[in-house]
């Protein structure tokens, strides 16, 4: 029980990163992006190439992959989503689906379907109060917490962070407050790319690298973001922890194969009882 809960927390902490990316992207661009799963995959393989193939330490590889992914996301947005910006959320969602297909299969083309793992030395797990933990899980919690704190500081203390929240809050008011939205969109993608890359590397460390590794988490990540309230960074973190924890705990009472049912039920429950999510403000159209 305690062990399962701990595993759930680790899963939740991992998902918090992409959930925050989803929430930022949704806030600024106003559509759920279905390519985020594949973006995590691509970033994880980037880190894999640097780590396992070029022999970099994983930390350095992860940082490089995160920066590269941030830049890549800015470029991808420029090529795919920018021309479609005025066409409405549905078109953008379909485009993001297509982008997800491309990215996941670029990874498949380069590395095939078989599972791979990072070149890291496996340390022996240790026990704390009867809960088995390992070194990677500690790193995961540290990295994710540090990234969340950094994002929090960025979003509340820096002008660009405030501008991102302002655009998420009210895009047309942001324009008349002098905020140039293309710049904000670029920064949002850059940060989302970094978060997704870190998320991808952590998933790869927790499980293994394979092409669907990112999209497997897609629904849980969306559920976390919706649960916490799309557009709310704090909500994304809490939502991810809740979804991760409940998903793992659900395996105690039902077949683990249907873990994916948990985020679905969570989406249904939150939509029925509190559509704006735990920490979100009611969503105003226009």
């Amino acid at each position: 029980m305690l062990q399962t809960a701990f595993n759930g927390v680790v899963t939740g902490v991992i998902m918090a990163l992409p959930a925050l990316a989803v929430t930022l992207l949704f806030g600024v661009l106003k559509f759920p992006n279905f390519a985020v799963g594949a973006m995590m995959t691509v970033a994880a393989y980037l880190a894999f190439a640097l780590n396992a193939q070029l022999g970099w330490p994983l930390a350095a590889a992860a940082v490089a992959a995160a920066l590269a992914m941030g830049a890549l996301c800015v470029g991808i947005d420029h090529l795919t989503f920018r021309p479609l910006r005025e066409r409405g959320a549905i078109t953008l969602m379909v485009a993001s689906l297509g982008l997800g297909f491309i990215l996941e299969n670029v990874a498949r083309f380069a590395y095939g379907n078989s599972a791979r793992s990072f070149a890291i030395e496996l340390a022996r797990p240790f026990r704390v109060a009867d809960v088995r933990m390992n070194y990677e899980q500690m790193i995961t919690i540290a990295v994710s917490s540090a990234a969340m704190i950094a994002m929090y500081v960025l979003l509340t203390r820096l002008p660009m962070g405030r501008a991102m929240r302002a655009v998420a809050d009210n895009p047309s008011l942001a324009l008349v407050r002098g905020i140039e939205s293309p710049r904000v969109i670029r920064w949002t993608w850059f940060l989302a790319g970094i978060l997704l890359a870190l998320g991808g590397v952590l998933i790869g460390m927790d499980r293994a690298l394979e092409p669907p590794m990112g999209s497997n988490y897609l629904i849980s990540v969306f559920a976390a973001a919706i649960f916490g309230g799309l557009g709310s960074p704090l909500g994304a973190f809490v939502g991810a922890l809740v979804i991760g924890l409940v998903s793992e705990l659900s395996t105690l009472v039902m077949a683990p194969n249907y873990r994916i049912g948990v985020p679905l039920v969570a989406i249904a429950v939150i939509l029925v009882f509190r559509p704006q999510g735990l920490f979100g403000q009611p969503y105003i159209r226009k």
Binding site: P32, T91, G98, F101, I102, R108, F222, N257, L271, P275
Partner: protein
Amino acid sequence: MISFLILIGIVICFSAILALALNFQWGLGGMVNFGLTGFYALGAYAAALLMLKAGANTFVAAVGAMAVVAAVCGLVAFVTLRVTEEDYFAIVTLGVGEMLRLVALNEDWLTKGALGLTGVPRPFGAAIAPEYYQYFLLALALALLLATLWFLDRLARSPFGRLVRAVREDDVVAATLGKNVLWARVRIFAIGGGIIGLAGSLHGFYYQYIDPTQFSNIVLAYAFMAVIAGGRGAHRGAILGAAAVMLLLEGSRFLKDVIPALDSDQLAAIRIIIIGAGLILLLIYRPRGFFREYRLRVDFK
């Protein structure tokens, strides 16, 4: 070679039926269905199981599969759209589709899991000699495709069809006109689901064998590509789109002979990359596709 073309013809027919279904839900109704693959699998499994476990004949099985998928789609639409907007609906359909696929993969007692169901009966399978059977199946698939097309054309011209488009263009306006938007959307999604069920049954008849790997997200990519290429809302466009996509895909099998260095995983990956890129390029440069939606030509003057 002739036989190869006939087989491609059959595949095109049921892909086109699937594309018509998506076109109805998304192109006409404005409801994105990212769970298409799961619903398609549901149709195929429902038909096969009705025959294998319940001993139904092929006709009853197909109709049953249509009813099952329509009911599930209607339910999903009802539960989700009662409380929320399209964005969430897309996410929910994706999740439900994935869930359906997992059921097929994990409920061994029912679906035989990864092994799949073998020996799916075919319509008139015993009455028609095997060497002629593919001609019959092509004729049947073609007839069903034309029937679907006829049905959807009529529907598009009916008052319900106008309501569907009104809901897509502006649900608020449609609601203020006193139309029950939720109920309209549930019906749109359920009717589309019924057609998906039909395509799924045909899938089973054609392969005589179904397993979860046949229902990967590639199907979703193909269907969206077909609808976008054909022009959202255009029925004939969706059919031609499906034909073009399938020919392209089947044709790309020969790519292996041209570039022998690629293994089959890589070829599969390239195909999906092409589909994904095509999808985005069409959305950007050819958003109306190559065909126009059916419209009433009424002169208001």
